[in-house]
Symmetry: C2
Subunit: 416 residues, 2 copies
DNA sequence: TCTATTTTTTCGAGCCCCGAAAAAACACTG
DNA sequence: CAGTGTTTTTTCGGGGCTCGAAAAAATAGA
């Protein structure tokens, strides 16, 4: 059963609340924080004075510096960029991308690298990741001790504890405990996240108006992935990252999927499936390993140009996505959708069939009110989400007495 | 954003924790409560002394009265049955069932009634519900003032706020705000719940070992319903009760469903669908309004006896359920399943095709480890869940200072 | 320079939880 | 049957936390 609340948890939680409020609002005054958190001015005053003393927050000008009002001017509180840093590692098909981000969210060092992930050995793959992290940590601009957390993201399935990649389409290797490996190597806490979940996290930071409590991020790429936020929480499976929207069954016994099974949504809507249908290769044809973005854009151009197998391929993709979303909506009710990835740029070709399909389902009752947004480039989104995930983890640690970051500890020593 | 924790919330939450611990454990001693809640003995002592003073808890013998040990004997704490009472109203096809339950969970008054829900007018339906509640409240055994909450359950879709029935297969009427209506009539807080969700709640109380944090309750009845518990929480949609497993799409454009759409899981696995297939009526045939339990049992008997359309009908049901579960598991990962309702008694006929189908899906990777349990009778389960739901609501109110029940207030006055 | 206004800090009061010690309630022992 | 050991429960003092009210601080406008 859930455990009782100890008295000291109180301060810890309220510190967290204040830090979160500052991260969200940018440079709020103490008064604003008091309003958003519902805590009293005295409490906010006490907590923020602690946090400033520990080097986590710093005073500055308020966000609306121009607004000259009567009375004592508000003092803006901001995150101290030097309080800590985090590192993001994004591993996607043939591509490895790493960045170091300061506590305020600015990139301070990055590196990207092409790899042949599909053919690499387990050791080589792990080795490359460790090496690139090491190189960034050795960057003279970086204070190694300030790096408080590493967040990895990978396309594929991760475990609920965010320790390991269980399965990924970008490599034949399975069950790599990346988080444990990096922690052992560098002594920095690490987590292993699912790429689509990070997309969802990023969308929420980018546009909290639209993507607030309930929304869906769907990756339309070589494979089909999903990040789901329900009731303000990232949705995950009971054992794994879950949310394998691409492997819901669209047609029992249908087209051959990259996962080896038949009839998955992805087997109609993934790049390889659109490609296969456009080239009229037959649904039993083994999926191709990769289709370049340029090839997909060319396919979409042809489909727009003339009515032929290309257009039909996109129509089938739309149908599969529509029925899949319909089934999903039967479970969770309709919610705003963000289509991300190269095929999101061809959403005009997908949408008609998608809407038609969704109208045939229980979730489609309000078909017209379901709104879609598109974002053709997934990588920046994944990186951004990863960074925010890592930073909010640090937020959770810094305020937790006894689990101080080094920066926090150092600052505390300075005060004492 | 989530609000800060006020100082007084602490006591409120910890009181809740103690009450919950007592409800779960039966007659735990203070020491046991301290262990399960993680709070200190002194805190438990203080809180339980308050709760006893307010008439919410009562001292008694410990549950294991026989265990004579050295030392001061434990004093068992139990819920005071007279602290409050709740009422459950379960509305199902042609049947209305009401019970009054004391704070310790014992039924103290009940009434059941046959109705013709499918043809009744809106006013008649509401009228019957109000009347039956009034009759129970006028029962001389019942102290009206002690009834602290009413929980209604209905087959169909309810809203997330648990105020109204939005749609139900048992009546052509839609959007009846039963909770508001009963509150207005009797001045007792009420909620409107989905029947399958209540089944899930009941299963958790019945067998917390098996049904703990993640599990699925599927109703195999005239329609197909689902109650889902994920990460220890009842899963609901963003706007409605959600979890409309029966209306996930099994075959796009397939068999005609009672909901008017095509290819839903229910259109293959609901009683009417099994009936339709067994009678070889064709998938476009309008679903029959009702099939009696006896008819379904006869159908199952025939299917067990000989290989014919009856057996094939169950096979098709199994297939639809299997692919549906496969898609569900792709989203949430596999979890224990309880099959409830009359067709659960025919699960032997359903299971082979179900397992075969599920093995074709992403969720079926661990097909053998997915375990099914069956419970042919849904009504007792729904009633029980409803009662527990209402009682835990009361638990949440009694401990919230300022929202005392009448019983709580009276007891407090006596003390003062 | 003074006043009105708004933000921020200070201070005492009131709660709450915890650990340690005391009290209570029994079984066992000789 | 009184004394001893054991376990549960209560009591008590200490340390923290949040809150409201009042004071202090910082500025625009008169």
């Amino acid at each position: 059963m859930s455990v009782g609340i100890r008295h000291d948890d109180l301060r810890r939680r309220n510190r967290a609340m204040v830090i979160t409020a500052v991260r969200r609002a940018g440079r709020p005054s103490r008064t604003e924080i008091a309003a958003t958190t519902g805590l009293s001015h005295s409490t906010i005053s006490a907590i923020s004075s602690d946090l400033i003393g520990e080097g986590i927050l710093a005073e500055g000008k308020p966000s609306e510096a121009g607004a000259l009002k009567r009375g004592r001017p508000q003092v803006g509180l901001g995150l101290n960029p030097e309080a800590a840093a985090v590192m993001t590692v994004v591993l996607s098909l043939n591509f490895l991308s790493v960045a170091v981000i300061d506590y305020a969210g600015q990139v301070i060092s990055e590196e990207q690298r092409r790899l042949d992930t599909l053919t690499m050995s387990r050791e080589a793959l792990i080795g490359e990741c460790v090496a690139i992290v090491r190189r960034r940590l050795e960057d003279p601009d970086i204070d190694v001790r300030s790096v408080a957390r590493i967040a990895l993201a990978i396309q594929g399935i991760t475990d609920t504890e965010a320790r390991a990649m269980l399965w990924s389409p970008i490599t034949p290797q399975t069950n790599i405990a990346f988080a444990d490996i990096l922690e052992a190597q560098f002594g920095i806490p690490a987590t292993m996240e699912n790429d689509c979940n990070m997309m969802a996290v990023a969308l929420r930071w980018r546009d909290p108006e639209r993507y607030r409590d309930d929304f869906i991020a769907i990756l339309l790429s070589h494979g089909i992935g999903m990040g789901l936020v329900l009731k303000g929480e990232l949705f995950t499976g009971t054992h794994s990252s879950g949310g394998e929207f691409g492997h819901m069954i669209h047609r029992p016994g249908g087209a051959l999927c990259r996962c080896g099974r038949r009839g998955c949504v992805e087997a109609y809507a993934g790049n390889y499936a659109i490609w296969r249908n456009a080239k009229q290769l037959g649904e039993d044809t083994e999926p191709v390993a990769d289709v370049s973005d340029a090839q997909m854009r060319a396919l979409a151009a042809t489909a727009r140009e003339r009515d032929g197998p290309e257009r039909e391929a996109y129509r089938k993709a739309g149908e599969a996505l529509g029925y899949g979303l319909g089934s999903l909506f039967a479970l969770i009710d309709p919610a705003p959708v963000a289509m991300v990835g190269v095929s999101a740029a061809a959403f005009d070709l997908i949408e008609p069939a998608l809407r038609e399909a969704i109208a045939q389902t229980a979730g489609g009752q309000h078909s017209k009110s379901i709104s879609f947004d598109t974002e053709p480039n997934e990588l920046p989104l994944i990186r951004e989400g990863c960074a925010m995930r890592a930073l909010t983890f640090v937020d959770q640690e810094i305020f937790a007495p006894g689990v101080q970051t080094k920066a926090g500890l150092a600052a505390k020593k300075n005060v004492a």
